[in-house]
Symmetry: C2
Subunit: 337 residues, 2 copies
DNA sequence: CGACTAAGATGAACCGGTTAAGTTCACCTG
DNA sequence: CAGGTGAACTTAACCGGTTCATCTTAGTCG
């Protein structure tokens, strides 16, 4: 066990010949301290290598200056999570670092996970909780919010019971851009591989597809998927069965698009000559697929940063934190469409 | 600001008709409490929804039950980090969750980052610090260890100043298996694309290459890389220039292997017919390259778990924590070699 | 049956900060 | 020059637990 005999406020005060209170005020940057004393205190702090004890401080201030980010560790975890989370973690991390807050990462394995998170928050371990993508209608965000704990979600929560602030991306706009691009290029039989319909991202991208195709007056063709590459392969085969002459496919995720590319290759079709393919995500790997994938970029890192900023404002007591922020998406044109 | 009027020990004690001390002992599972009283207390805890205040507890116990994981946020960040870190985070997370410890994630942007981490640890915010891969000769681990803070590294630190416990994988063994596989298949002109020589992983894999080739009595051919795909492309072109007849290449990372595949394709060579390719990492994406990549799997998640376990033992005061653990690697044979 | 013992509960002293209320003192004003 | 004012510092009361020394109480044994 590490016995750290760290100097306390008391020690610094003695050394500087002042009271604990004065040292505290100096350390916390209060203005009502004479310059000479302030210097003396600072010197003592320096000499002793004093660092305030966080626990003691939290005890009285009721703040911890750390914020949790919850990663849902669902049973059916998929590889795309590992491409998605790092970006969001990084975004959140940068913003919190700038604000001198700490990031606490929690993974909620279904079972006791929820309860753990709740206890943790209520125990005052963190000042607020962020959710990095909600699968299904997770009750936890609402539950915490009702408890009075600041909550922000990445991705619109499906249950808006007590409405919690969230940041999401413009799914519909992205899909519209993709479909429009396909239509402009003369494609007329545009199918889609949909995402899981228990996630808002999956739902909205499919809705966007429906709307865009209806507007364009084109026939619709949908195959279900779950954002994974394998589901993309299966869905693509299914689509080709149902309409061998389709000339384009919009996949609701990059990984499914990769699966589609593979299935198309296996069926002897050329991309984009025979069939154009567009994905959604713009993961790094999509720059290197064969052919490189045209896709809708969603600013994941920026979403993380935005979420963190909202959280910081919430914690600061800002009364007018926007209840939702929707970030723009952007069509990135490469070779597949 | 959330005004949580949480019940305190005092409240529970009053309700149960006992003293604070007794409630404390019940909550912490002490055995020397009469069954009837224990029940009464537990009932009061339940009714009031009592959750112990973590700050107050830490203040006296000097423990926080949370552990930091440092992700070096180096200037020249590469995509592979985002494939590597999630796995290690997950491994660490699972192990800590099982031990009911919290995971605090910190990213150290070069500049003030180090100092921030140090202050944070010294402030008693965490019980220990883990490093998720060390670039270069980072002084931070040693510095913290010298301060008396429990430290464990993933990847052998280059500066073994104060030796800090670490967990690493068997780089040399993996490389040997790869080279052996190539030799057995009749390859005789085996080149390598090396990793950065300021990282232990890069150094050891190159050393392994040298040793294996020397043993086999084959000529060596080395091109430098930095673990990125682009460097793999450049290095492969370079190698082909220098020896157009090479029949195999071992890349010290999967991403560089992917780059090599691309460069080989562009040069008109077929893999594995003309040139066999083996990588190192076994990232998920390597199952889907064209052709699927034969590679050395390193158990990243397991490394994370092991690191966490070492940390837990360290914190528990276990006197005989192994100063190093080396996990086995394994050759995964797919189509590229 | 009384003294001794041990199990079990309690009171109170911390842990190391923050901050409201109080004190000191130099300076200003009528 | 007495009284008032405000800046600057100190005192002391918390924050909410843990834990040790102490006190009760019931059980044990000669």
């Amino acid at each position: 066990m590490t016995t750290r005999e760290r100097p306390t406020l008391e020690a610094v005060a003695r050394r500087a010949g002042v009271s604990r209170a004065t040292v505290s005020r100096v350390v916390n940057g209060s203005t009502t301290v004479a310059a000479t004393i302030r210097e003396a205190v600072n010197r003592a702090v320096e000499e002793l290598g004093y660092v305030p004890n966080q626990a003691a401080r939290s005890l009285v201030t009721q703040r911890t200056d750390s914020i949790a980010l919850i990663l849902p560790e669902t049973a059916n975890r998929v590889f795309s999570d590992d491409l998605f989370f790092p970006a969001i973690i990084r975004g959140v991390g940068m913003e919190l670092e700038a604000a001198d807050k700490q990031l606490v990462l929690m993974m909620t394995g279904s079972e006791a996970g929820h309860h753990r998170v709740e206890r943790y928050a209520v125990a005052g371990h963190v000042d607020g909780i962020m959710f990095a993508s909600i699968h299904g209608a997770d009750p936890l965000p609402g539950l915490l919010a009702r408890r009075g704990i600041p909550v922000v979600c990445s991705g619109r929560p499906m249950t808006a019971e007590p409405p919690v602030p969230y940041v999401d991306v413009d799914h519909a706009g992205g899909v519209a851009a993709a479909v429009h691009h396909l239509v402009s290029a003369g494609r007329r039989r545009i199918a889609t591989i949909a995402g899981p319909q228990d996630m808002v991202a999956g739902i909205e991208r499919l809705t966007g597809y429906h709307e865009s195709l209806r507007e364009a007056g084109l026939p619709e063709l949908v195959a279900p998927g779950d954002f994974t590459r394998e589901s993309g392969i299966a869905a693509m085969r299914d689509l080709l069965d149902r309409d061998p002459k389709l000339d384009a496919v919009f996949a609701a995720s990059d990984l499914m698009a990769h699966g589609a590319l593979q299935a198309l290759r296996e069926s002897g079709r050329r991309v984009p000559d025979d069939v154009a393919v567009i994905g959604f995500d713009d993961f790094e790997i999509s720059r290197y697929s064969d052919p490189p994938l045209t896709t809708v970029r969603q600013p994941i890192g920026e979403a993380g940063r935005t979420m963190a900023r909202q959280m910081l404002r919430l914690i600061a007591g800002d009364p007018e934190v926007p209840s939702s922020v929707v970030l723009p998406t952007e069509l990135v044109i490469r070779a597949s469409a």
